[in-house]
Amino acid sequence: MLKKESGNRNNRRRILALIATLSLTSGLVTSCSSSSNGSGGTLLFLTNSEAWTHADPNRNYTGQHIAWFGSFMHRTLTAYNRAEGAAGSEVVADMATDTGRPSADFKTWEFTLRDGLKFEDGTPITCEDVKYGVSRTFATDIITDGPTYAISMLDIPKDKDGASVYKGPYKTDGNDVAAYDNAVTCSSDNKTITFKLSRAVADFNYTVTYLSFSPVPKDKDTGDQYDLAPVSSGPYKIEKYKPKDEMVLVRNENWSKDVDPIRNAYPDKIVVRFGVAEEVRDQIVLSDSEPNAMSLDGILPTNLATIFNEDGTTKPEWSKRALNVYDPYVTYTAVNVSKVSCLPIRKAIYYARDFAALLQLAGGPAFGGDPADGVIKPLMGLDYKPVTGLEDFKPAGNPEKAAALMAEAKTTCPDVYAKATGKGLVFDVGDTETNKKAATIWIDSLKKNAGINLKFNFIEPGQYYAVVFDPTKQGDLSRAGWAPDWANASTVIPELFLETAGFPLSRVGKDPAYAEFKKRAEANLSQSDRKKQGEEWAALNQYVMDNMWVIPGVFSKTQEMWGSKIEGVFFWEPQGAPSFGDIKVKG
């Protein structure tokens, strides 16, 4: 899943946002009704994004947003356990009565829905609604940016271009609906859904935790526009959603705790205020002027010293209001290999970069994280092995190595060399203050150590992934962060690098090394021996680094803070976000 591009937008919007914030704060009063179990009150979220990247469950792929919508609005067949630490990575039944019943060969999975499930308008949730929800993933021209596991895993034939013969629910002509009906079937009582898969997937019950496996009522589906008004199956429904302004969730009267074992739904009302300037957002929480507020964007590096000690531990007075933990993400810079088709140049970028300064800018090792050696985090256990061949890496950059690589590039790939040293490579980043400073470090260190010119393309953070996903708009380098969708690198290596995958920012299809990679990765997906599979993922991680398809950043850490009236926050490891659904607001 994607790491949110958080941070400050440019100042023009900062001022408009400041005006908006000032006018809003005076109008917002925390409701003080509170019952004995801690429910009641208004929970306020602050973000400087202009809107959710996507509220449509099928298009949501940002870990934090999945956690948020999964906690409040969209239910799935199974879900992650709401618990701190490793227990949080266990899968529990959500809308289904159990965590799924696989066939012996793990190619067929069955889930039975609970009784009494309802949408926000009171209509019962049936197997057909889930089936319809899953079908939307196939309409790749309208339902963009979401996870595509349904397409890659379900047993639906592919046409000669490798695309699924089923094109989603919106197309009629040339659309093989029968193929989909064959792969996903509902029982006669409309309660049990059966998925037929094209290969053995032993952890398919983790796949269905994704919101793209949540129910969508067919008669309410407005295609592209569903992003603004998704129908709730969870404890809250949308009262108001206005991008650049705010979102208000109120209780969904048709949701019942009796048929939902995992959601707590303490607050009466949830408000998300968009477009709050980063300094304002931090100051609201730091000064506790709105004690029911929580920041959705992490903390400005400049404010870290107020809350945390230099070694990264929380100061005593903040111990109940902040956390600093390793999240599941690896940050990296995806190299658009179709444009930078020159291995020595890609390596030169890696060696020339002043990593130490970039880490220092992110708050140092105590807050930024540890240098990454690939796209798989050591936490992944089975799938991780330290990457070799990067011994010449020096934190502050290795000019000799970079210069040698550039000299090599000059003869082996003169075209890319001319571009890199002449007009320069285009680097996509979110338009945030921190990224602007990072740009200075990148430009300076690459110019000095390798003679490479960089041009930065600053993109509004909420629009960032939508822009770089578009091959026609993506530059030569794109900042990104990725976390495994569940504890198997099958959600990392193939997802990031296979051409048909969900997040192919490296665009490696034309690279000479791709054919072998494709063969090995696809073979390993159906590997049934988990230990061997893990070893192969580690080997493929090495392969990716040998070809430098990404410039690895950090195994990252994340910081969160919230107001004094907020209780019950813990870090939900698999989603890399606070467990939003367990938050209480004190009266």
Binding site: R12, E279, G364, T440
Partner: protein, 316 residues
């Protein structure tokens, strides 16, 4: 000499103005400061070679693990008289000096261009009167009534892209180019308005009538008879609009319309320093103070120049 013989010391208007200026204390002080400022920015590359004041060198070793300059007070030392920029560790004085080159260039180009255009149009309006005057006058009304600030903000992205696509300018040059062009476009009418009225009265003076009666051409009348009477207005306007455009440039880079990193202008530095108002106040105060001192200097200097050239006008 002849003057001594006559017993009366005669002085040209220019000498008189210089005498008045010399006795203007604020004027002399600000002239010295302004000269130093201009020299410092002009010779910033020389300082780089002489004192190592380089805006691109990142002194990351002088920052602590979280990117703050070590030792408090923004890491001020003999090597770095104004300390370092937090997060990236570049020398702040060097950043200010090199940033000022961009700010001053923009302000200077815009001021000179608006004065040139405004002067020509103003003379044309006042001298020819009638239909020419009313057509240009209405166009000026249109420009002045335009919400130029919002126009500049709204047009920035598409216009900068156009400039880049046209291949004339690239990156930061395109951003600065856009700002210069649009500021000139909206800037010249003010001076035209100011110039028009004195021209209206000057063209009726006897010596202009005489010149016309002698058959002098329009060009000769405008350049030899009218223009010399306008220099006072122009010089005063020039000295007051320069600090004005310095501020405008800072405002637009503060809003994210000006140059982007790695280059810096004062507006950009101020915008960055705001985040540090509580955690590193020294850094917060330096760029803002620099801008205040500069604008104040040029404004006072402009006042002093006006007082000396035109003592009859009200002193501010």
């Amino acid at each position: 000499m002849i003057e001594e013989d006559s017993g009366v010391l005669s002085r040209s208007p220019r000498q008189l103005a210089w005498l008045r200026f010399r006795s203007h204390k604020a004027g002399v002080t600000t002239l010295v400061i302004a000269t130093l400022l201009i020299l410092a920015t002009l010779f910033a590359p020389v300082f780089r070679t002489l004192f190592g004041l380089d805006p691109t060198t990142r002194h990351t070793d002088l920052l602590n693990s979280q990117g703050y300059p070590k030792g408090g007070f923004n890491g001020i030392s003999w090597q770095h008289p104004l300390g370092l920029e937090p997060g990236i560790g570049q020398d702040l004085l060097a950043r200010l000096l090199f940033g000022a080159r961009i700010s001053f260039t923009v302000a200077l180009i815009v001021t000179v261009s608006t004065v040139a255009i405004g002067l020509v149009v103003g003379i044309i309006m006042g001298y020819f009167r009638g239909r020419v005057d009313s057509v240009i006058g209405r166009f000026i009304d249109f420009l002045l009534a335009f919400p130029s600030f919002f126009m500049i903000v709204a047009l920035s992205l598409p216009m900068i892209q156009r400039l880049e696509q046209s291949g004339l300018l690239e990156g930061n040059a395109a951003r600065v180019g856009y700002l210069v062009i649009i500021l000139i476009f909206f800037g010249w009418p003010y001076l035209s308005r100011v110039i028009r009225s004195p021209v209206l009265s000057i063209r009726e003076r006897d010596y202009v009538l005489a010149a016309r009666a002698l058959g002098a051409s329009h060009t000769r009348i405008i350049f030899r008879e009218i223009l010399p009477n306008l220099w006072t207005v122009v010089i005063v306007y020039l000295s007051l609009s320069l600090p004005g455009y310095l501020t405008v440039e800072a405002v637009f880079s503060f809003l994210g319309l000006g140059v982007q990193p790695p280059d810096a202008t004062w507006g950009l530095l101020i915008s960055d320093s705001i985040k540090y108002v509580l955690t590193n106040p020294t850094y917060f105060f330096i760029p803002s103070t620099a801008l205040i001192i500069t604008v104040l200097t040029f404004n006072l200097l402009g006042d002093a120049v006006r007082d000396s050239l035109d003592p009859k006008s009200e002193a501010s």
